[in-house]
Every structure is written in C-alpha cells, then in structure tokens.
Amino acid sequence: MSGTMTYHFSVILVTFGLLLSFITYAMTWIKRSLCLPFAVLSIGFLSYCSFSLFILVIERGPFEYYLGGWPPPIGIAYYIDELNAFLSLLVYLVALINLLCNRERFLEKQGDRIGGTMALYILFITGLNGILLTADLFNLYVLLEIASLTGYALLAIGDKRQAPFASLNYVFLGTIGACFYLLGVGYLYIKTGSLNMQDVSRLITQIPKSPTILSGFIFILIGIWIKMGLFPFHIWLPRAYTNTFGPISSLIAPLGTKVMAYVIFRVILFVFGKEFSFEIYSLGHVATLFGVAAILYGAITALRQTDLRRMLCFVVITEIGYIVAGLGVGNINAIRGSLLHLLNDVAMTFCLFLSADHLIVNTGTKIEELKGVFQKTPFGSSIYVLASLSVIGIPPSPGFFGKWYLLQGSLEAQNFWVFGAILLSSLLNTVLFFRTFEEGYYHHTESPSYGPKKTSLSAYGGILASGLLVVLMGLLAHPIVGHIVDPFLLRARLP
C-alpha cells in the first residue's frame, strides 16, 4: 500500500489544493472568522506535502502518473522530476512565508471578503503547481488559464484608481498570450493528432520540415513569452505589479514569470527537442537577441524610475532577460546557468519584494521618500540590502552562481553579446541599488523620533525567513546544480 500511496503523492498536492481552496471560500458563508486561519493551515499542509514529494523524487528519481488510470496518449499524464518538484516546493514556501508575513494586512484590506481572497490565493498556487507538473499540452493551457484568472483578480486588489485598469490590461495581453499558446497547440494537434508531450515530440521528429510545425512552434513561444513578460511583450508587467496590493505583488512577482520560464524550457527541450529547435528553427539567435534586449532595456529603464516597486519590476524584466539569453546561447553551461538563475531568482525576487514592501509601509513608495529608513527599520533594510546584493551578484549570494555559469557558457560559445550584456547589467544594477541605499543610509537624524510602524512579530519572522531562504540557496548552489539541474539536462539529451 505504501508503494502506491507514495506513487499517488504527486496528485495529492494539486487535489488537496483545490479541495482546501473550495472549503476556504465556503467558510465565508459558514463562519467568516475562520477563513484566514484555515487558509494558513491549508498552505502549511500543502507545503509539507510538496516537501515530502520533493524528498520522494530525489530518492526514487522521476516518475509518471496517469490521471484516471488511462495511459498517456489517451488520458492525461503527470511527469514529476527533480526540477519541477523543487520549483513547486519553492512556490509553496514563497506562498507560505508571504501569507505568514502579511496576515494582518490581508485581513485589514479585505475584511469580509478575506475568504474569497484566500481561496484565490490558494488556487493561484495550485494552478502554478499544476503547470509545473503536467505533461499534457492542453491541460497546461487550462492550468495557465486558472493561474492567470486568479492572477487578474488578485492584481485588481490594490489602490482603487490604478489597480483595476492595470489588471484589465494584463487580462487583454494575458488572453492574447494564452490564445496564441492554444493556437500553437492546435497546429501541433492537427499534424500529430496527440496532446501528450512525449508523444508529440516522438511524432514531430517524423515530420521535420513542415510549415505547420514551425508556426506552431512560433505561436507557442510567443504565447509563453507574453505571459513571461519578455522584453517586447513586457508592457503589462510594470504597471500590473506596481499598483497592486503589496503582499500580492510579493506573491505574484517572483512566481508568475518564473513558472512560465520553466514552461519554455520544458516545451523547447522536451516537446520540440534541442537540436530541432536550435538547428532547424535557429532559436539560438532569436532568444539571444530578445534576451540581450530585455537585459539592457530592463537595466536602463530601472535607472530612470522614481517609484521603488516599479524599479524592482524592471529588475524582474532583466532577470527574465538573463534566463532567455542563457537559453539562447545554447551550450550546456549557459542552460545550466539560466536554470540555476531561474531557481535562485524565485528566492531573490521574493525577498526583494517582501523587504521593499516592508520599507514602503514605513516610508512611502517613492525612492526619495526612503530617507533614513536604514535607521528607522534596521532589520527590514538589512534584509533588503542582502537581497539586492544577491541580485547584483556579490559572490556568496545565489545571484553570483547563476551569473558565473551564464558568463562561462557565453564565453565558451564566443557569444560576446550575452557576455557583455550580463556584465553591463550587473554594473547598472550596482548603481541602481546603491542609489536606494544612499537614500536610506545618509539621511541620519540625530533623534529618531518615529519608530517603525507597528509591524507584528510574524512580519519580521517572514522577512527573516525569506532572507534565510536566499542565503541557503546561495550556500547550496553546487548541490542544487548537481542533483536537480544536471539530471534535467541529462534527460534533455544536451551535448
């Protein structure tokens, strides 16, 4: 029994996610005060499940799960390997820490609608989790829709004037992205007849030079790149993440774009195959071009921003640029670097947004309003400094390791565009973040009249936990690459 029980573990994660979110919503009509504690408990339980799933996968290696008992081409299958189990663990950790850290602010902001918001919160994470684990192209579309629908609703909570309009723009661009993805899947379906990833990749190799497969490839890529917020399609990202409610931006900013970045790797390496997409469709040049453009655009526009959280959004765009540039370079070190950067980036962006949100609560959203914040909340600002140093890429932090592999890969591939762009953006990031440090550090008032706003103990605990997560990811960089990233690359038959 225990053998099958652990085998079923993968689907428990998503199923209980759904069940618990329905109960959380039902709680608003049964006993409204129970909603928040119930949500916190359920996310805690889900994180425990995802942790044990991760341990299970590390021990027994990847495995497949047939939904409804039907083998893949007929039914839908799950495929769980080390990388997506670890990423789903990160998703749950981020959600748990974020909720623990901002419980009071959610309650104070949403009041009686807290049950619905918490249900959306859990559904968002379950949707992301489903995207990570599924091995069926159409199921990926449906989960994509759940994640973005909950994303639209959550992002609309925020200041009344800006958030709904930003969220509606996100709806339009997100729907275009999802429909392009659906169109791409349709094109693959019309030529291959199946929807399972492995099945489709097996059939595609038999019909290499077909315009339908090529345009299917193009549309799937464009669709996911819109959801990822890559450079030319990033228009929705800064406005959506800046005007929303603080804790929600620190939930969606680190997770939304990164899970879609994982989908890019899954689709290119496992559905179309690396040699297929790089040689025949010359993806390398396109991805490098877009990646470098994203890096430079993100770094330069971030310098011009006056609002702190808007500046961080452009940092997110730069990070996405790193990941895509690494994919564009194509050799094993660069892809290893971009995958590692993807994992580290979840922790870094989360810690950055959480601590920046803490600073914004105490001072104001503009950067020059950050005067003397280092003295006012020394603890929150030190975690903010830790996170930004990791984004710049100071050695002991996780950001450095990702950059190291990316630089090494691009040097081996003689791709000096990517090499130069990464170095230049690190320097621009340094200037960027030290500008905020100067604001916070220099305006030292002799008698600090105002202490930090009544931030509760759990808020400090949450920020500390996110800081520890970043430090841990830094120290564990080598084992992460060894046990999680390399097996994924091995299975993708990379040279």
């Binding site: 609309a156 709904p164 309009f165 969220s167 339009f172 169109l183």
Partner: protein, 126 residues
C-alpha cells in the same frame, strides 16, 4: 487547374477562420473603448474554438453518439470527438474571462467614470 480549385476548396475554411481571428485581435488591440476590447477578446477566443472544431470534422461523419450495435464501430462514420471536449473547456474559459473582464470594467467605471482608454490614461497621469 482543378488541383488549385480543390486546394482552395479544401482550405478556404481555415483562411476565413484566420480572418475572424484577426478581426478579434485587431479589435482587442486598437479599439479605444474597453468594452469593445472585451468583445474583441471574445471574438478572438471563439475563432480559435472554430479552428479546433474544424480540425475534427470529417466529411460524411455524423455526431459522435454510438448505438449499442453488435458489429465494431466504423471510425470514419463519426466526427473526431476530442476537439469537442477541448473546446467545451475553451468556451467555459472564455466566458469566465469575459465575466472577470466585465467586473474589472465596472470597477474602472466606478472609479474613473469613463471606459475610454485615452481619458483614463489622462487622469491616471496626474
């Protein structure tokens, strides 16, 4: 000569679906009124559903409902059911997005008093 005609007859449907998609996409991108954009979005989604259904269509195939007969099922008599299942989901997804977009439009109207994008952008600037 008839091969070209036959080629066209075999594909004019897809070209008209593409035209429909582009109407939706164009409306969604270029229209100034937010409600018009929402309508464009829905047209775009239904056009893709149309494309999927036409993948499954077979000439001479009836609706995929089988009777309890003795002999084996002749596959070419029935239309391919898989796209229909997929498109049931897509329709529900398009209605849900439609509902959420309308809710957002109402929120925007409650705050800004207008649904014209240029007026909203102007008063967001101050």
């Amino acid at each position: 000569m008839d091969s070209i005609l036959e080629f066209i007859v075999g594909r004019y449907n897809y070209w008209l679906y593409i035209l429909l998609m582009m109407i939706g996409l164009y409306a969604m991108i270029s229209k100034n009124n937010l409600t018009k954009k929402i309508v464009g979005m829905n047209i775009f989604q239904t056009a893709i559903i149309l494309f999927y259904i036409s993948i499954g269509f077979k000439k001479g195939g009836t609706i995929p409902i089988l009777e309890h007969t003795s002999h084996a099922v002749e596959v070419s008599h029935f239309v391919n059911p898989l796209p229909h299942v997929l498109m049931l989901t897509a329709i529900v997804v398009s209605v849900s997005t439609f509902g959420v977009a309308l809710a957002l439009a109402i929120m925007i109207y409650r705050e800004h008093g207008t649904l014209e994008e240029d007026e909203i952008l102007k008063c967001l600037e101050q």
